[in-house]
Symmetry: C2
Subunit: 382 residues, 2 copies
C-alpha cells in the first residue's frame, strides 16, 4: 500500500478540515442603519466546487454554533464539527457531489467579527459599542462572502433554529440565487415565550457584578451569571420527555435528600454544563445573538408575513419537532400555511422526537430521508 | 334602615375577615427526622362551624400563597384574598353552608413558622438552620391545628398547585378524617423540568452577593437575584398563549428597537413583577418551599404510587389545564389512571384554558360548576 492509499483512508475516516477566514473591506450597512466593517468572516468548506460553480450548499448555524460544521481540524480533535453526521462523502450533504460551506455569523465570537473583535476606529474591542445585528444582516454578510468566492447560485440553504431563520431570509432576499431552502426547527417570528426566556438569560448576566456592562476582561467573564444564562437556554432546548429519560427524579448520590444544597441529577447537569460554557463563548456575543433571535420576524420591513413570503418562490422543505417547546411546531406551521395559501412550492414534516428543540442535532436520522428525496428531486428538475 | 341593615350589607359586600394564629407547643417530627417546634400557625376562617363540627373545608395554598384566601382585613384593603371569587356566601365554597379554613404552610413567611422565624433554641432567626420541610410535614402541621380546634372531619381539602399536593397528602394520610379531596393543577411527583426551573431560580439567588448563604438582613434581601428567581417562576406559571394574548411581540414604546438595553413588553413586565416581589416575600422561605416542591412525590415512603394511592379511599375530583406546561395534564392523568385501575372513586376534568398553570386562579369559573356538583353529590351521600 502506497502513500496514496493512506491519504485516501485518512480523508474518508478522519476528514481533516481547515478553518479559513476572509476579510471584507467593504462596509456592510446594517438594518439599524449603522455601518460595520471591515468584516472578518470565518468559514469552512467541504467537498469541491464544480466547474459550473453550481453545486454549493450553504449550512447556517444556530445561536452558539460556529463555522466548524463537519470533520476535525487535527487527528487529535476530540470532537468533530456540530453536524458531522450530516456532511461528508455519501452522507445527506454529500461532499462527493456538493460543495458545502458553513460560515460563522457576524456578532458571534468564533472567528467572524463580533463584539469581542477590535473596532478599527478605536483600536479596542467593540463590546457594547458593537451595533445590533439582525438575522438579515448575518445573511447579507454571507452574501458578501459568496460574492468574493464567485458563487452566485446555491443548491440549498439549510440550518436549524437560528440557522432556519437565516435559510428563510436567504430565500426571501436572494430569490435569484437560491434554488431551495431547508429551515429546521425554525419560526417565522420569535414568540413572547422565547423572548421571555432570553430575558431571564440576559438578567442573569446583568446581575453578575463581573459583567460591568460588557466591559469585563476576556479572561474574567461574568462566569456565574453567564453559566446561569446558559442553563436557561439549555432547559429550553431540552424537553420534558428528554429530561425524564435522561435524569428522571434521581437525586445526586453524593448529596443527602434533606441537605439544603442537595441536588437532583438534572440540577447538577445544568450547573456543570453552564459552568463549562464561559470558557468557550463570549458573553457579549451571547447577548447580541440573543437580541438577534428576539428581533427575528420574517415580516420585518414588509407589510406582513404574506408580503414577505410571496418572495419565497423556490421550493422550501420545513421540519418541526413534536417536543420542541421553544419554537413550537405551530410556529413553523404558521409559515407553512401562508406559503400554501400563496401556492408556493412547500413541503413540511412534523417529526416525532423526544429531544425538544435540540432534535435537529440529536436525531437527524429522522428527517434525513426527506432531505435526500428533496435534493434528488431538485437535481432532476434543474 | 337601621344599623342591622348596614352591618349586613358590609358583611356581604366587603366580607371583613381576621388574620388569626395559634401556637402549637408540641414539637412536630418532620420526615427528615428533625424536630420542629413550638410552631406558630397563621390561619383564617370563613363561615361558621356547625354544631356537629362536620362542615369544615380546608383550603390549601400554593408556593407563595398565604392564609388570606378570601375577604379583606379592613375596608381600606386594596385587594381581597387570593381565592375571593371561590369563598363566600353563595359562592362555590359557600360560607352560608361551610366553615372554611385556610392556614399558612410551615416553611412560609406569612405568619407560620419558617426560616425567618426566631429559633427558640438560639433566640435568632433560623435562616438556613431551618429544617427541610416536605409537603407531608405541612399537612401534619395542619392536622395539629385542626386537633386543637376540635375538628376531626373535613368535607373536602381543596387547593391548586402545591395546594393540590397537600390535598392529596391529606387524602392518603388521614383517610378517616377526609370525606373528599379536590386537587387542582397538581402532580403526583414533580417533573425534572419543574425541578430544573426551580434550579434556575435557586441559582439566581445564590449568585446574588447579597444573599450571603441566607444570612441577609431582612431589610436587605438579595433583591436582584430574588427578582430573577421570581421571573423564572412567573414564566412557568404563564403559557405561550397567555403571553401571546397579553404582550405579543410588542416592543416597549420608550425604547429604540436597536438599543442594546431596549425591551419587549413581556420583558419589562417580568422585570417589574420580579422587582416588586422581594418586598412581600422572604427569600429563604421561597427557597425552602421550592425544595418542598422538588421533593414532592406521593410515593415517598411507599413501595410505589399504587401503594400510596390505595389509601385514597374517599372521592377525589381532579382538574388539569390544557396550557399548563409546569404541571402538565399528563402528570395529573398519571395519578388519575392509577386511581381508576385501583377502582377508587375518582373524577377528572381536563379544562381548556389559555392561562397555563395560573388558570386555577385566573379562570375558576371553568371548573367551579364541577366542584358545585361534586360537593352536592357528597352532601347527598353523607
Amino acid at each position: 500500500m502506497g502513500p496514496f492509499c493512506v491519504e485516501s483512508v485518512l480523508a474518508e475516516a478522519i476528514n481533516l478540515v481547515k478553518a479559513e477566514s476572509m476579510v471584507l473591506e467593504q462596509e456592510l450597512r446594517l438594518e439599524s442603519g449603522r455601518l460595520l466593517g471591515p468584516l472578518t468572516i470565518a468559514y469552512e468548506t467541504y467537498g469541491e466546487l464544480n466547474a459550473e460553480r453550481s453545486n454549493t450548499i450553504l449550512v447556517t448555524h444556530a445561536w452558539t454554533g460556529d463555522a466548524h460544521a463537519a470533520g476535525r481540524h487535527s487527528e487529535e480533535d476530540r470532537k468533530p464539527g456540530w453536524w458531522d453526521n450530516m456532511i461528508g462523502p455519501g452522507l445527506v450533504l454529500d461532499t462527493d457531489k456538493y460543495h458545502v460551506i458553513c460560515s460563522n455569523v457576524i456578532g458571534s465570537c468564533k472567528g467572524s467579527t463580533g463584539p469581542a473583535s477590535i473596532n478599527p476606529q478605536t483600536g479596542r474591542a467593540y463590546r457594547l459599542n458593537f451595533p445590533i445585528v439582525m438575522v438579515r444582516d448575518m445573511v447579507r454578510a454571507q452574501k458578501m462572502m459568496l460574492d468574493v468566492m464567485g458563487i452566485n447560485s446555491l443548491v440549498t440553504v439549510i440550518g436549524g433554529s437560528m440557522g432556519a431563520m437565516q435559510a428563510l431570509e436567504w430565500g426571501i432576499h436572494y430569490p435569484e440565487m437560491v434554488r431551495s431552502i431547508i429551515p429546521i426547527a425554525g419560526t417565522g417570528r420569535t414568540s413572547p415565550m422565547a423572548i421571555a426566556l432570553n430575558a431571564l438569560a440576559r438578567q442573569a448576566i446583568y446581575n453578575d457584578p463581573l459583567w460591568k456592562k460588557g466591559n469585563y476582561r476576556p479572561e474574567h467573564q461574568p462566569a456565574s451569571g453567564f453559566a446561569l444564562a446558559r442553563a436557561v437556554g439549555h432547559i429550553s432546548f431540552l424537553s420534558e420527555e428528554s429530561m425524564a429519560m435522561k435524569f428522571g427524579r434521581r437525586f445526586s448520590a453524593r448529596d443527602g435528600l434533606f441537605d439544603f444544597f442537595g441536588q437532583f441529577e438534572v440540577e447538577r447537569y445544568l450547573e456543570y454544563n453552564g459552568n463549562s460554557f464561559p470558557a468557550r463563548f463570549d458573553c457579549n456575543s451571547f447577548l447580541y445573538l440573543a437580541k438577534a433571535l428576539d428581533l427575528y420576524d420574517v415580516a420585518w420591513d414588509f407589510a406582513g408575513m404574506e408580503e414577505a413570503l410571496e418572495r419565497l418562490s423556490c421550493p422550501s422543505l420545513w421540519f418541526a419537532f413534536s417536543s420542541d417547546w421553544l419554537y413550537r411546531p405551530e410556529q413553523t406551521e404558521e409559515v407553512v400555511e401562508v406559503l400554501q395559501q400563496l401556492n408556493q412550492p412547500v413541503e413540511y414534516h412534523l417529526i416525532e422526537s423526544d429531544y425538544g428543540h435540540d432534535s435537529f442535532l440529536v436525531e437527524p436520522e429522522k428527517f434525513i430521508p426527506y432531505v435526500v428525496a428533496f435534493l434528488d428531486k431538485l437535481a432532476t428538475v434543474s
